[in-house]
């Protein structure tokens, strides 16, 4: 895993230097509209979130559960188009130092052209991409282009990932490795299984310097549990539901609460 000039790595390392796991918050772009996405993201940054993940609404989000699906369907119905992701990223990065990763299914990137997509993302101040349906085996073009523009490439590893794939995926990643906590899709769960810890341990053993855990994390207690063994904790569905139900103030309150769980050595 290459650490050279990685914004995502820097954010996780900063948290580590403060004795914490990094808190990573996800919101889909354009839900309910672009200005609110920017405002909510800045609110996350002001309330303990170390790294922001912005999703591109896509017609066929196979890794997403109902809450995120509904939000992205709403964003698309309201007219969100892919190039607006740059407005969102620029709106956030121009107002905070907290880095922004974009989470995207691959077809929208392919359609624009991988190189053009990446150059515009770099220009907007984005840190890189999280790619839920792109595995390194198919990523030759993205590997080259992300090197060219100095972008992070966050691939996923799962409880089902073989040791050989764990090594090759860790090797291909830059920034951090995204450890999927359970075999399943996004959505709040009351407990994050033992599988999550095994994924993190395996990824570390395969050479990963930073492994962040996502899928199903919704409470400060879960954050605290995962912070003990992982380098970062990713929260998505719970933040989307908070924004949906209580607007930006609810996002602020949830982030404040979640960030109480990131301590590595809770007293």
């Amino acid at each position: 895993m290459k650490t050279l000039s990685s914004k995502a790595a820097a954010a996780v390392e900063k948290a580590r230097s403060e004795g914490r796991a990094a808190l990573i918050g996800y919101l889909p772009a354009g839900f309910p509209d672009v200005p609110t996405t920017i405002e909510a993201a800045l609110t996350m940054a002001a309330n303990g979130v170390d790294l922001i993940e912005i999703g591109i609404p896509y017609s066929d989000p196979v890794m997403d559960g109902r809450v995120i699906q509904d939000a992205t369907v709403q964003a698309l119905a309201a007219g969100f188009t892919v190039p607006q992701i740059y407005d969102v990223v620029r709106g956030i990065t121009s107002a905070t130092d907290v880095p922004v990763l974009v989470m995207t299914y691959w077809n929208p990137v392919m359609r624009m052209g991988v190189r053009e997509f990446a150059s515009r993302l770099a220009e907007a101040g984005g840190a890189g991409l999280i790619t839920p349906d792109l595995i390194p085996d198919e990523a030759a073009e993205w590997m080259a282009v992300s090197d060219e523009f100095g972008l992070d490439r966050v691939y996923l590893v799962a409880p089902s990932t073989s040791q050989a794939r764990m090594r090759s995926t860790v090797e291909a990643s830059r920034g951090f490795v995204y450890g999927v906590s359970v075999m399943g899709i996004t959505g709040a769960r009351t407990s994050v299984g033992a599988a999550a810890r095994a994924v993190v341990d395996d990824a570390h053993a395969a050479g990963a310097e930073r492994v962040c855990v996502g899928l199903g994390v919704s409470s400060a207690a879960q954050v605290a549990e995962i912070a003990r063994y992982a380098d970062g904790v990713i929260v998505g569905t719970a933040l989307v539901a908070a924004l949906r139900d209580g607007g930006v103030p609810a996002v602020a309150a949830l982030c404040k609460d979640l960030s109480t769980g990131t301590g590595k050595n809770p007293s």
């Binding site: 017609s59 196979v62 892919v82 691959w106 624009m112 089902s160 399943g184």
Partner: protein, 452 residues
């Protein structure tokens, strides 16, 4: 292989237009044979554009499939089920009266409609259900549009003692209430899909979501030759029997290879199955007919290869109906089985190299051919299949218009893959042709698009 070698080497090279065709005939940059292409890539298409969580399951499936293919016990099991359960070999029937409308060329129908459950889909589900058992899985999941693949999956699951869950767009479960009942009678659970556009593609999305969460116990029984490796090559393998039988039958009945083979293309499974028998016979032109809906200029169609652009959906890179931002577009067709915005990657490759040609057929052309086959041959085809029949009429007329000196139209031979029977489509057709009294219960159903 049971292929007879007669005719293969002595056939004259086909006259196909275009650079791609020339490249195909010169074998430039390609392996000598197009048959049995193993994947994961077909030229630039195919691959595995899938979440990492599912890669281990795809690896397991691939290994199981490769081992099974090499295991005489497995191939014997498939052959036995095909012969004693599905009813294979299916007939090759000459359609003499229908042929009069196709320029007078000879037309032969490969009768997949006579298989158990009424379509080619049974070939694939029996094979995959056997693989599920070899992997020790106890549950299969499937997607379905009109319900044909759902019914076939429920059938195979009942036969082999597997739990079966079928994902179906909520709109379709209502419109296809009788097919839902059919699946339930066979012991399957049908889950209405209310996500996204609530169509076949969303049913596939939900099946994939189920698969990620239950992959230890569950096999995803994909119904067409699309999706991530090994699905396209594997689904084709189980349908290759169509082309093998058809090639042997036409040689026996006419003493020569056909001039053209026609099939409809949704995801592409029946088409790749029959094409496969003739891929290495350059004199045999291969035609895939896509759903042209209201006409390709109307925007309401499912002509993926004709108008789509390469992209990734459901695990494979292939032609795709997508907007300028890479969002999948909704497809439209009178035939639910062709109403899919993607297409299998091997067809994308065969299109690019010019080995097969793909053309759109409108709803109207398909329904005219549907009625013609009913009236001339006493066979009610599936509306999907009617697209292939409409295409065959055009191909026959073209062949007849382009005869060499001394040649007769009756020297030309076309095979059409009659992929399914039309019992399920009777209400749609009755409504289309205005055969129902205004106040009948059937009319009410048909207005909702019921395909029984």
């Amino acid at each position: 292989m049971t292929h007879q070698d007669t005719g293969r080497a002595s056939e004259p090279a086909a006259q196909i237009d275009g650079d791609a065709a020339a490249a195909f005939l010169s074998h430039e940059g390609r392996p000598e044979s197009l048959r049995h292409a193993p994947g994961p890539y077909f030229g630039d298409y195919g691959g595995r554009w899938m979440p990492e969580s599912l890669i281990a399951a795809l690896d397991e499936l691939q290994e199981t499939f490769e081992a099974a293919k090499a295991d005489p016990e497995f191939t014997a099991q498939v052959a036995e089920l095909n012969a004693t359960y599905a009813g294979r070999p299916s007939l090759l029937t000459e359609a003499k009266s229908f042929a009069a409308h196709a320029g007078g060329v000879r037309v032969f129908l490969k009768r997949e409609d006579l298989n158990h459950t009424g379509s080619h889909k049974i070939n694939n589900v029996l094979g995959q259900a056997l693989l599920a058992k070899r992997m020790g899985k106890t549950r299969v999941i499937a997607e379905t549009g009109a319900g044909q693949h759902g019914v076939a999956s429920a059938t195979a699951a009942a036969l082999l003692g597997l739990e079966c869950v079928v994902y179906m767009g909520a709109e379709d479960t209502r419109r296809q209430a009788l097919n839902v009942a059919r699946m339930q009678l066979l012991g399957a659970e049908v889950i209405p899909v209310t996500n996204g556009s609530q169509t076949l593609k969303d049913a596939i999305n939900d099946a994939l979501r189920d698969w990620v969460a239950n992959v230890d116990t569950t096999h995803y029984l994909l119904g067409t030759a699309a999706g991530a490796h090994p699905f396209p090559a594997m689904v084709r393998y189980f349908h290759e029997v169509i082309g093998e039988e058809a090639r042997a039958q036409i040689l026996e009945q006419t003493g020569k290879l056909p001039d053209a083979v026609c099939a409809c293309v949704g995801g592409g499974s029946n088409a790749i199955g029959i094409f496969h028998g003739f891929l290495d016979d350059p004199s045999v032109r291969l035609y895939g007919f896509e759903a042209g809906g209201d006409g390709v200029e109307s925007g309401r169609h499912a002509a993926t290869i004709t108008l789509g652009r390469p992209g990734v959906l459901h695990g494979a890179r292939s032609y795709l109906m997508q907007d300028e931002y890479g969002q999948t577009m909704e497809s439209h067709s009178i035939s639910a089985g062709l109403d899919y915005p993607g297409v299998g990657p091997e067809h994308a490759y065969l299109a690019d190299i010019g080995r097969a040609s793909y053309e759109p057929v409108t709803d109207r052309e398909a329904m005219d051919a549907f009625q013609l086959l009913c009236r001339t041959e006493g066979i009610i085809p599936a509306i999907e299949t009617a697209h292939a029949l409409a295409g065959a009429l055009k191909v026959g007329q073209r062949l007849a218009a382009d005869l060499a000196p001394g040649e007769q139209a009756s020297d030309k031979v076309i095979i059409v893959n009659l992929s399914g029977r039309g019992d399920k489509d009777v209400a749609t057709a009755a409504e289309y042709f205005d055969l129902l009294p205004d106040d009948s219960a059937e009319q009410e159903i048909a207005q909702e698009g019921e395909q029984l």
